[in-house]
Symmetry: C2
Subunit: 344 residues, 2 copies
């Protein structure tokens, strides 16, 4: 009898709590701009319309909460990638430590050039050279050692233009999109061509995205035991998933298993992810960031009339495809009221 | 001014709602057994103690909600695996359709034996033969085609002993553990040696586990375009992740990126996952299901004095390691009040 009374009282409380919560749901959101760093325009409107259409139960394009997946490229989409990917900066700065451990690399290229500190020569390294540096600095240690090294570095390293930690060079408008989607029950994922383990170290703190929602280029890890019999994982120099180009939808299938409803990118490496997303049934949103603001950030890529660079290429062909397929182009210059949170 | 008034009113509502919710949090849970299908005993106590220790902010073993990860093997841990894995049953039953599409396989082993319908001969197929059948029936089609085939099959196929769909042969006590952990902010994952794409088809409906929380043996998929230019993914006959033995912690690192706080298994294939989990810092729970109930389910494996079988081997060595390492053994006979939800 007692438990029945408690149960009735509890039920009353629950009903009361729900009534209060539902009552304030509408006024709490009405009038609050979820994207205050965005100028009014087609890009902002597209995001808001997409969220409304997919979360309104009366909409024919309603998407059940468990299916709400949104994927974001990182470099050039969520944070600055110019003039060099942050992860490559990390790898270059790790070279002295690697050479100290393996002195035989001292006079071997490309390590010799990196050790010279000659910025001009370093900037001219080929992609093949860069890959050798990545392999040498991202593998051959335990997962825990790697995480510790990246954590220490990312807390201290600074970008040379803004003199701020790289993790402050995230785009405030995109942080607002992440938060807006999550507050509407979207699971937000990073799907990056960069190293998955690298991004996982800071993604939760910087973007609110937990490690299990970071998909990236990944190598094989190898399970083993230390002298005391305690298991550990070693990062092997063998590629498992190249999460670029076609590798992005392939990685999404492997790690998420659902087609995203929204995807955000900025370069040819994101093309297949944007195609895969946009051609799903129902409401699908593919958006692409155009770096056209030389004053506040950078302007680069053929779609901007600049020659191609080592970082994310927004080619003219990609620009044309975006127009043709109905992807929304985000102009940093026109669509973003401010770019970084530290700006007034 | 108006928005200030609305904001104050909204804040009052929020405070009121929170007070009501907190007030009922304690009485709502007190006295309700979260594991009603478990007999009181060391296994049930270990689960409850683990949840209390890791979710009580005053506990030295408190785990922040975002780090709460629990992993579950599937076959023999969440549902029946004897006398044959359900996924292998699917593959065997797909053979006629595969041979119809490729008639040249008709007189080739092991397809010839499967087509003969000779149960004795089929049961004697080698692991190598089984792998040939898996490759032929799990690859070579688009991801969407595969999902459609599995969905149709799993809704209709029945186990020969219970004459019920395989998806009803899930262990009610383990469903309660999944729910209990989730209600305490644990993210529950399946980490299976079975085919990741197969399990993802029904895991949400059957276990409440979404596709992105199913880690399993996975093959390469290949991105391509159909005649209309629409992208699709094809399942290739190339292994990407063998999610068994050492592959389980390796798969956990790849797909989750955090060490679990709790892991559940039942065979040698789960050994490394249980070791990896249990040797983490703080409160860690490794549990292992012993199939010792021939009447209500099955009794098998060397730890039970039976010869090894094709399905999950609970060897004597694993039993001894469990005892030594402090993994908790779940005796189906002693610890489970009922095994299936359809039992009275």
């Amino acid at each position: 009898m007692k438990s029945f009374v408690i149960s009735r009282r509890v039920n009353c409380y629950i009903v009361l709590a729900l009534v209060v919560l539902f009552a304030l749901a509408a006024p709490a959101h009405a009038g609050i701009d979820p994207l205050p760093s965005w100028n009014d325009g087609p890009a902002k409107q597209a995001i808001i319309q997409f969220v409304k259409e997919t979360t309104d139960q009366a909409s024919p394009k309603f998407v059940p909460p468990e299916e709400r997946i949104a994927t974001f490229d990182q470099d050039g989409t969520l944070w600055v990638e110019h003039p060099m990917y942050t992860q490559v900066m990390y790898c270059l700065e790790r070279v002295p430590a690697v050479v100290k451990a393996k002195p035989e690399l001292k006079n071997v290229e490309p390590f010799k050039t990196v050790l010279s500190g000659n910025h001009g020569a370093i900037a001219k390294l080929s992609m093949e050279d860069i890959e050798k540096i990545l392999a040498a600095t991202l593998t051959g240690m335990t997962v825990d050692e790697f995480n510790g090294e990246v954590k220490k570095w990312i807390e201290n390293a600074k970008d040379s233009r803004w003199k701020r930690p790289y993790t402050e060079l995230v785009y405030q408008p995109m942080l607002e999109v992440l938060g807006y989607l999550r507050s509407n029950d979207y699971k937000t994922y990073i799907v990056t061509g960069g190293c998955q383990d690298f991004v996982r170290v800071y993604a939760e703190r910087v973007y609110g995205i937990p490690p299990e929602q970071v998909v990236g280029t990944a190598g094989v890890t190898k399970f083993g035991y230390d002298k005391t019999g305690k298991p550990f994982l070693t990062k092997e120099p063998k590629l498992l998933l190249n999460d670029n180009n076609a590798g992005k939808p392939e990685g999404i299938h492997l790690m998420i298993g659902r087609r995203p409803y929204a995807a955000f990118g900025n370069s040819t490496g994101d093309r297949q992810m944007l195609e895969y997303t946009k051609t799903g049934e129902g409401a699908r949103l593919s958006m692409i960031v155009l770096h056209d603001d030389a004053r506040r950030e950078y302007a680069y890529g053929p779609a901007q009339g600049f020659p191609d660079t080592k970082v994310g290429a927004f080619t003219q062909a990609l620009y044309d495809e975006a127009k043709k397929q109905g992807w929304i182009i985000i102009s940093m210059k026109d669509d973003w009221k401010r770019i970084f949170s530290f700006e007034q």
